[in-house]
Symmetry: C2
Subunit: 144 residues, 2 copies
């Protein structure tokens, strides 16, 4: 037995746990709604929908994912015909956008996602949410 702080009391461990709880709950809600998508696929889909002809590099940077992960997640979204991959002006790159099915799917998923956000934050008022946001940004700044 160590004389150190127990893992359960460590703030960084609580952040990890919170993230897992959010992801698990979101995934369950997607499944219950009959939406065949993972949380990571959702994030990629949403970012493409929010962007204008985004490239894989920009997707990776804004989602804090590796380029390799983006390639593989896109393979699955392409197979589901939710995303289009168009050769870019620069022939090394591609420009991504949603298909009609992708836009429809995104709308459906967004209903679920907004409900998860509402439920997860229901006991935190606006001030508390702002404080939380500020604290997390400080941690990121300290370690990035």
């Amino acid at each position: 037995m160590s004389n150190d702080q127990k893992l359960e009391d460590v703030l960084f461990y609580l952040i990890e746990k919170t993230n897992k709880v959010i992801r698990r709950y979101s995934q369950i809600r997607f499944i219950q709604a009959g939406l065949d998508i993972t949380v990571d696929q959702w994030l990629v889909l949403k970012k493409i929908g929010d962007s204008d002809r985004i490239t894989q590099i920009d997707l990776a940077n804004s989602l804090y994912k590796d380029r390799a992960s983006i390639t593989r997640i896109l393979d699955l979204l392409l197979a589901k015909k939710l995303v289009n991959k168009v050769e870019g002006h620069d022939k090394r790159s591609y420009e991504l956008n949603l298909t009609a099915a992708g836009r429809k799917f995104t709308d459906q998923a967004l209903t679920i996602v907004k409900d998860v956000r509402r439920k997860g934050l229901q006991s935190l008022d606006a001030k508390e949410q702002d404080t939380l946001r500020a604290s997390l940004q400080k941690i990121i700044k300290n370690l990035e």
Copy 2:
């Protein structure tokens, strides 16, 4: 383009990003210190060190990991001879504990980990840390 909140402004997305930044920074520090271990292996090692003859089920529950993940992480820690796996009173289960090398390794890693915690939280006073903890626990309660 959607009329919805951008991903970057979503609190849950910020929690995910914070978690990633903490993990990446920790992993880099382990590597720089010559410690051949992943963050997940560290969490398992630390929990075993903090516990008395813990079983895999209890490890999984307290770390919010799947039993299957615990099996595979333990395989690697066993190969590194940092952990012992002893048949439990109940013959279906095993009791885990650290080897002498495991204890030594844990002490070294703990130095790094404490420094990461200090650095990451350096601009947050005790009150702000308590508020952050409370907010995260509310989110967990709302979704668990």
